[in-house]
């Protein structure tokens, strides 16, 4: 994590003085963006850098759904299963993903290519059903869109 400190110092310029504690979530996000998850050593480094109690970081990592303490598949498929998406076929599409990839939500394919998660509303109900593929929204899903996505991402890996 230590090589990110110059970047963190830049962020501080727009915060009021004494807001070090506020940097926990942005710093953890940045660390995870780079490593794919937050490692024990990152927590040690961040405790030292921000001067916040270790328990605060542990709680934050536990509380927010986007943080991970261990690596997952290359492509994280987060399928919304809230009201509007379910009303437009989210469960049917989840079954299709299970059929195609051989895994259920919470699992990663043996080749490490895909992880499926069920998630709550992502604020994209007008284009339901939808999912996130890593950081991007994939909207107006149907079986054809899913098949294209799987084919493209699998081909990317094969290269």
């Amino acid at each position: 994590m230590k090589h990110l400190i110059p970047e963190f110092e830049q962020w501080k310029l727009r915060y009021p003085a004494g807001f070090e504690s506020s940097l926990t979530i942005p710093c953890l996000r940045r660390i995870q963006e780079e490593r794919g998850y937050v490692a024990e050593s990152d927590i040690d480094d961040l405790v030292e850098y921000l001067g916040v109690p270790r328990i605060q970081l542990e709680e934050v990592l536990e509380f927010y759904t986007q943080f991970r303490r261990a690596p997952i598949g290359t492509h994280h498929l987060q399928v919304c299963h809230n009201v509007s998406c379910t009303m437009r076929g989210a469960e049917r599409l989840l079954r299709h993903l299970h059929d195609r990839l051989g895994i259920v939500a919470g699992q990663t394919t043996p080749d490490g290519c895909f992880t499926i998660s069920r998630v709550e509303c992502l604020g994209s109900c007008g284009t339901a059903p939808m999912m996130m593929v890593n950081d991007s929204y994939l909207e107006n899903l149907d079986v054809a869109v899913l098949d294209t996505m799987i084919a493209e991402l699998s081909a990317e890996r094969a290269q």
Partner: protein, 430 residues
């Protein structure tokens, strides 16, 4: 006609979100006017006179919230825009963030000037990607143009803005939880009093406003409160951005004046029901508001008074349109799963109650429900009303009671027969 526009008055192009385009349509004139011609108190007074009601769900008058802040009291004030849009069915703030981010930044400057807040924040939900990038790019453009930082537009006014990304938590959309999160902690809501305008972020006076609420401010400052009040109804002035989804042909975000009839909205903006289905009911303002049957909602107009009279609320303006044939028991199961997942666990009635709402819903849907389960769902819902720090448990209770009150016979049928009165699906069954 859905009426006059405050936000959707420009064509969306490849560059309509940029500073150059925003300026070409009159952007940043309001902050210039305020800094040259108005005292901070006058800005607050104009917003109060305009009568703009908060667009985050509670419809609290924005001007009154601002008016609570005492200027020159020797302590810092903070302004935070709530862009943690997470109420299921709601995606209107995302439209503003993606398509007109500079309008929001100008609104924040006006708010910062009115409240004398040197530091401001936008708390944006962590999953938003394009919305975040558009806002972050706009902020860098604005800094480079001297619209943030020191000596803004050649005056003594100074303001910094931080875009703070959440990390996945529904409850952080609640203002006090948002500020706890902004302090870098897990997002536990806080007891009031003290109110956040007295002791908010790091215990300093803090105003939290919804994205759409802030977005109204440049219009009000530029054109005056009198002109703003010509839009909408006397008690619900202005427009609302409605997010509409579900079993309709053209889901999306639409700007309508308060007072627009629902039946016209369904026929015109929504493009009618999907595949010719019949309207069953509407979850009117995010899933935390009480469901309205077709008979309840078809005759009414869309404003705060009409929705309250019908027994529900405009809420977060996220409408979910439900077709006849949809299983309301299965729908409740989806909703209770959500509330259970999102309960932060701080208060016992919610932590335990949300779990039981989901468990009971699950067992009814699995065909193992008991006749007494209906009364149990009522009991748990009522046990949350007013007994917890924030409104999450209350809201889950309202949603549950709303569905049970209107569709009790579907629950009785499901429990008696071990299967849905329909085919058990919530996907449109036409």
């Amino acid at each position: 006609m859905s009426g006059q526009r405050v936000f959707m008055d420009f064509p969306i192009t490849a560059t309509s979100h940029t500073l150059a385009d925003y300026r070409a349509r009159g952007g940043y004139e309001a902050i210039g006017k305020a800094l040259r011609e108005m005292q901070p108190e006058q800005v607050t007074k104009e917003v109060a006179t305009a009568g703009v009601l908060g667009h985050g769900g509670a419809a609290f008058p924005a001007g009154r919230k601002w008016g609570v802040i005492t200027l020159n009291d020797g302590q810092p004030h903070y302004l935070c825009m709530n862009a943690d849009e997470g109420e299921p069915g709601t995606f209107k703030d995302r439209w503003l963030l993606e398509h007109t981010p500079h309008l929001l930044l100008e609104g924040m400057l006006l708010g910062a000037y009115a409240l004398q807040a040197r530091h401001t924040f936008v708390y944006i939900r962590g999953e938003f990607d394009l919305a975040y990038r558009r806002l972050a790019d706009a902020l860098e453009e604005a800094y480079a143009a001297g619209l943030f930082g020191e000596q803004i537009l050649g005056t003594d006014f100074a303001c910094d803005l931080v875009i703070y990304r959440g990390a996945g938590s529904y409850v952080c959309g609640e203002a006090s939880a948002m500020l706890t999160s902004l302090e870098g902690k897990k997002g536990y809501p806080r007891n009031r009093p003290p109110r956040l305008t007295v002791a908010g972020l790091y215990q300093k006076p803090t105003v939290v406003n919804n994205v759409e609420t802030i977005a109204n401010v440049p219009y009000i400052v530029k054109h005056g409160s009198a002109r703003f009040r010509e839009i909408g109804t006397p008690k619900s002035p202005g427009t609302q951005l409605l997010s509409v989804s579900g079993h309709i042909n053209t889901p999306g975000v639409y700007e309508v004046e308060y007072g627009y009839p629902f039946a016209d909205f369904l026929a015109n903006e929504c493009g009618g029901m999907l595949r010719g289905a019949t309207l069953k009911c509407v979850i009117p303002g995010g899933i935390s508001t009480k469901v309205l049957t077709a008979a309840d909602i078809m005759p009414i107009t869309m404003d705060h008074q009409a929705f309250l009279a019908a027994g529900s609320q405009i809420g977060s303006q996220g409408m979910i349109i439900v077709a006849e044939g949809t299983c309301m028991v299965s729908l409740l199961q989806v909703m209770t799963r959500f509330y259970h997942h999102e309960s932060c666990g701080q208060c016992t009635p919610c932590r335990e109650g949300m779990g039981w709402l989901e468990k009971i819903s699950n067992r009814i849907v699995a065909g193992r429900g008991a006749p007494s389960d209906i009364e149990r769902l009522y009991q748990i819902s009522r046990a949350n009303d007013g007994t917890t720090i924030c409104g999450l448990g209350d809201a889950a209770g309202y949603a549950t009671v709303g569905i049970l009150d209107k569709y009790r016979e579907e629950f009785e049928y499901y429990i008696a027969n071990g299967r849905s009165m329909y085919d058990g699906r919530v996907e449109v069954a036409v």
